[in-house]
């Protein structure tokens, strides 16, 4: 399975979830309020919202780590407590902590065994996934000595360990260096290509925009808006070496586009439209230096929807 959302049973579905905490002093704080959404196989869904919007609580409710006051969560159409469903889920929490005296490899080995792998396969998987997240050497040290970023990567390796069909990642790039963040993006895209459903909670708008198919805007526990990232509202921007020389042929070849200086811009409805336009530009004699999809509107949307700014 590749690309966009697929039909069929959602990997994760939450309906009318509500959760209230008791704050110090006894006041009730509504963390999640009547929240409903679904994540389908081969889809990356982002959760966006300010601190305290209920993003982490929503994930924990979805996994039955918290008991909802109302509503329900379903994993692959069934109860999240079912052991069969849990085998298919990977979860990486924000700022995870691990047994300080065990090494990263021993922790991975423990989880691999809990997933049902034999001792030899468990060790092999532990080493493979530690290597995959760039922890081959640090994973040999006790977990208590790992940095925040390394612990974050270990959490990610644990989430991926069982080749899950559903991944829930809570601020997975927090504490990661730029190279590791880029690797994380590649990994998410690869997971989507495999048909894995991903629910991503992140504060980084650029990251969400680059990998997510859909973004859910949350505030005070409520779902304010659902934004289809890959549908419409995007612009293909191409930088050309010979823009001035071929402006005439370009206007004929791609009439929906517009030249401005050394840039050529065209509105696109989806990523599928990009390759044909590039082909037409090349056929018209364009010497392309750079091409990118611009979607800066997510930040504007965030400010508009969540912060209420015009």
């Amino acid at each position: 399975m590749t690309g966009g959302p697929a039909a069929g049973t959602p990997a994760l579905e939450v309906v009318g979830l509500k959760k209230t905490y008791r704050a110090r002093g006894g006041a009730a704080v509504v963390a999640v309020d009547d929240l409903s959404f679904a994540v389908r196989p081969g889809e990356i869904v982002g959760l966006l919202g300010p601190n305290g919007a209920g993003k982490t609580t929503a994930m924990q409710l979805a996994l039955a780590l918290l008991d909802p006051d109302a509503g329900e969560a379903r994993l692959f159409g069934g109860d999240p407590e079912l052991l069969g469903a849990r085998r298919r889920v990977g979860y990486a929490p924000d700022a995870p902590l691990f047994p300080r005296k065990l090494t990263g490899l021993q922790i991975l080995d423990l989880h691999a065994r809990l997933l049902g792998f034999g001792p030899v396969e468990a060790r092999r998987r532990a080493e493979r996934f530690a290597d995959q997240v760039g922890l081959a050497e640090p994973a040999r040290r006790p977990a208590g000595t790992l940095s925040r970023g390394q612990a974050q990567r270990l959490g990610l390796a644990l989430a991926l360990l069982g080749d899950p069909d559903l991944l829930l990642l809570d601020e997975p790039t927090a504490g990661l260096d730029p190279a590791a963040m880029a690797a994380m993006r590649e990994l998410l895209v690869a997971q989507r290509a495999k048909g894995t459903a991903v629910l991503l909670n992140s504060h980084l708008l650029s990251e969400v925009e680059r990998v997510c198919d859909r973004v859910l805007f949350l505030k005070q526990g409520r779902l304010l808006h659902t934004h289809e990232v890959r549908a419409g509202q995007r612009t293909l921007e191409v930088r050309l070496a010979n823009a001035a020389a071929i402006s005439g042929p370009l206007a004929q070849a791609v009439p929906e586009g517009k030249s401005e200086g050394d840039r050529f811009r065209a509105a696109v409805e989806s990523e599928d439209q990009v390759p044909p336009i590039i082909r037409r530009l090349v056929d018209a004699g364009a010497e392309i230096l750079e091409a990118r999809l611009v979607g800066a509107e997510l930040e504007q949307l965030y400010l508009q929807i969540v912060e209420g700014r015009a």
């Binding site: 982490t56 609580t57 924990q60 996994l63 780590l65 918290l66 008991d67 052991l83 069969g84 849990r86 085998r87 889920v89 979860y91 929490p93 995870p96 902590l97 691990f98 047994p99 005296k101 065990l102 021993q106 922790i107 423990l110 989880h111 065994r113 809990l114 997933l115 049902g116 006790p142 959490g155 644990l158 069982g162």
Partner: protein
């Protein structure tokens, strides 16, 4: 009932804890120098160290994992809460067994060096019986740890023991009914694991406490699971 991968990881973790190792070393040393043979391996100062070792092994036996949030990752695997509790207990029990066995061997070696000879059967029997007693208390700490955070399970259990002791001593005096002392003493025998060490030498006296301790351990595990099943797993954010 027991997750062996969890038990293995718990035993490794406990055996790398500096506190457990320090008290374990004291227990081994006390067993080597203290008694006149392996039958006395867990008497006198060694018994105190065995109690301390149990406390160190049982401190935060569940809450360490729950507070850190690792428990929620483990329990998202295809694993029941009962098996996880069983695994944590079995792992701590494994670490206890390793240290107690080392103490027993050292007691036997010390006795041999001093030229003391003891009958083998009672000497060998003392080993599982001492473990049974300590494991009984470990299961109490696990049950308390299912509801209390951090290492407060040790404080909670210690407070309960002290409170019971005060009640036992004070109530007959306060109510001016000395006959209550016997009743409370009898009740007290059933408020925790009993001492089964007599089974090694006096089977008639020791069999009852040993069987009682086995039931106690199972009962504690059951209570721990029931209490733990009512808990939410997610770690509260600071």
């Amino acid at each position: 009932m027991i997750s062996w991968p969890v038990a293995r990881a718990t035993a490794l973790e406990k055996l790398r804890s500096p506190g457990v190792l320090a008290v374990g070393f004291c227990l081994v040393a006390a067993a080597f120098f203290g008694g006149s043979g392996p039958r006395q391996a867990f008497s006198g100062p060694a018994l105190v160290f065995l109690g301390m070792l149990t406390l160190f092994l049982g401190a935060g036996i569940l809450s360490d994992e729950l507070d850190s949030g690792h428990a929620q990752l483990v329990l998202l695997r295809p694993l029941t809460r009962a098996a996880w509790v069983g695994g944590r207990l079995a792992g701590a029990g494994g670490a206890l067994g390793a240290i107690v066995s080392a103490a027993w061997v050292c007691a036997a070696a010390g006795a041999l060096l001093r030229g003391a000879a003891e009958p083998w059967v009672p000497s060998l029997a003392i080993l599982p019986l001492a473990m049974l007693w300590a494991f009984g208390w470990l299961s109490v700490l696990a049950a308390v740890g299912a509801v209390l955070p951090g290492w407060t399970n040790v404080a909670g259990a210690a407070l309960a023991v002290v409170a019971w002791g005060m009640l036992r001593g004070g109530l007959p005096v306060l109510l001016r009914r000395p006959e209550l002392a016997d009743v409370l003493a009898t009740v007290g025998k059933y408020l925790g694991p009993q001492d089964p060490l007599a089974l090694a030498t006096r089977p008639r006296e020791g069999l009852g406490p040993a069987l009682y301790d086995l039931c106690w351990i199972f009962g504690s595990w059951l209570v721990t699971v029931l209490l733990f099943n009512r808990r939410e797993l997610a770690r509260r954010r600071p």
